[in-house]
Symmetry: C2
Subunit: 305 residues, 2 copies
């Protein structure tokens, strides 16, 4: 998905996304407590579930939004690591037996299978704390009050009116028939909130933007977050476990409502395309500065895993 | 435990602690999402486990330390509410079947018994997020960089090298024989870290203190945190369930090492007395400003529940 004005070369996005993945991986490896630090088993589990896997979509969004405000990459990598820690914590807890009871994640046994339930629970808890510690410890914005704002929006995105709340609604929806607006509301919390926080965190790492520009970025993030989930459902319906690295067809089998079950496969694909167009439209005023964000949106919609 | 110069009247501490408990209770009731806000069951669970119970020792320490720096009570109540939310989250997760598997807490069924395991897990997760949200959202210090420092120290206290790490070590210790230094290390993380954070948070809400004074307060908090745990073990050995509001004798029955099992009951009581003296000594330079902190230390050691 090359951008439209020709300065970003086709194929270039793949190299960029690999570079971002490499940067956030090394930041995570450095910022997570070493396995030899006590309690070693807990730190092993935190590293096991955070390092070496995942698409790093949230990290890409942090770096992509950081390009809009010409943010320092050293700030972006800390913000991206924090967001990826929060994402990893949510996956560990989601996979627990009392939640989705999943045994496979990113092609590896889930944390509670590899370690044990108590360690998995605490690894998730510790990752959430560490994310906020990093967001407060490193200098991430021009002004400390902006950084407080960043922590506030990230915490809100994680909480009971964000990610954790979306997970609660999701669990409650098993076996029920949701309407499309109800499904959209659930996903806007469960995955959408952290995706929006990722974009805004990245932008706040750089030069201040007028509120109207922040609103455009947030609108972009909203469409991208929604598209991410629609495509997830399409891949879950069509994909194979080897490519996805997780159990396939599970949502359908467990009676969880999905976009494909509610809309049908072809309309869900059309919907993803519309959301991509909406996301690109939200970036219209940013020109070349938003080239990476455009590419990320294209990647999210056209990915195969 | 009246203070030594006579300006604080005997009996006065009880009224003060009731006032603090009332303030933090109303702050929590206001700052926790209302039960009618979706997802309602999750918000019910968060309120159930945070409101209406507990000794509010951490809130008292926030307010007591705030008196040292003449901090605004409106700031202290937000900081105290955040700390009590973190404490409540840790209790919810500790009580889960994969952890201590407890059914009684503060005289009520534990969160996963009253609701369900998934809701309890998410309620804990959401409380941790909300605590950091509040610490970032409200103005709590003279300068925003001080407030970032407060968030950093609170997050560190919660994390894998603090409270969550202590819980991991505690679980790992079941059925093992720990030495006294190992037991002390475990408790310094499991309960000590958040108690120390409570004192420093309260102090940072007010006028800046020189580092040496912060070090004295931290030393006070270290002794008080240790004393708190020693007395907990004594009460668990001697107490009855009705007064404590939780299952009694359980640590002993489950083979968890305790101060009383390692030292014996009478030496543990002497040790608690020594820790109280050490805590008071750490406050020697503060005069009347630390009267409440002295009283809290006395309360922690002489409490019956």
């Amino acid at each position: 998905m090359p951008d439209t004005d020709g300065t970003s070369r086709p194929g270039d996005f793949q190299a960029w996304s690999r570079e971002v993945a490499g940067r956030v991986e090394s930041a995570l490896a450095e910022l997570l407590p070493a396995s030899k630090i006590a309690p070693a088993r807990l730190h092993d589990a935190m590293r096991y579930s955070t390092l070496g896997g995942g698409k790093r979509v949230r990290a890409m969004l942090v770096f992509g939004a950081g390009e809009v405000t010409e943010a320092d990459p050293d700030r972006l990598k800390v913000a991206a690591a924090a967001v990826e820690m929060i994402h990893a914590y949510s996956l560990i807890h989601d996979d627990l037996p009392c939640m989705d009871d999943d045994v496979l994640r990113r092609g590896k046994p889930t944390c509670h299978v590899e370690f044990d339930e108590a360690t998995a629970l605490l690894a998730g808890d510790g990752l959430q704390s560490l994310a906020f510690q990093l967001l407060a410890e490193y200098r991430l914005a021009e002004r400390p009050d902006v950084q407080l704002k960043m922590i506030q929006l990230c915490a809100t995105a994680c909480g009971s009116r964000g990610m954790a709340g979306g997970q609660a609604i999701d669990l409650d929806a098993v076996g029920k028939s949701l309407t499309l607006p109800e499904l959209e509301y659930m996903h806007s919390l469960k995955t959408g909130a952290l995706i929006r926080a990722s974009v805004l965190l990245g932008a706040h790492c750089g030069a201040p933007l007028p509120q109207s520009d922040l609103d455009h970025l947030d609108r972009y993030a909203k469409y991208v977050g929604l598209a991410f989930q629609v495509v997830d459902d399409i891949l879950d319906e069509e994909g194979d476990a080897a490519a996805l690295g997780k159990t396939v067809g599970k949502d359908k089998a467990s009676g969880k409502p999905t976009y494909t079950s509610l809309m049908g496969l072809a309309p869900a694909k059309r919907f993803a395309g519309e959301l991509l167009a909406d996301a690109e439209e939200a970036l219209a005023g940013f020109g070349e500065r938003a080239a990476r964000l455009r590419e990320i949106a294209g990647f999210i919609v056209h990915r195969r895993r």
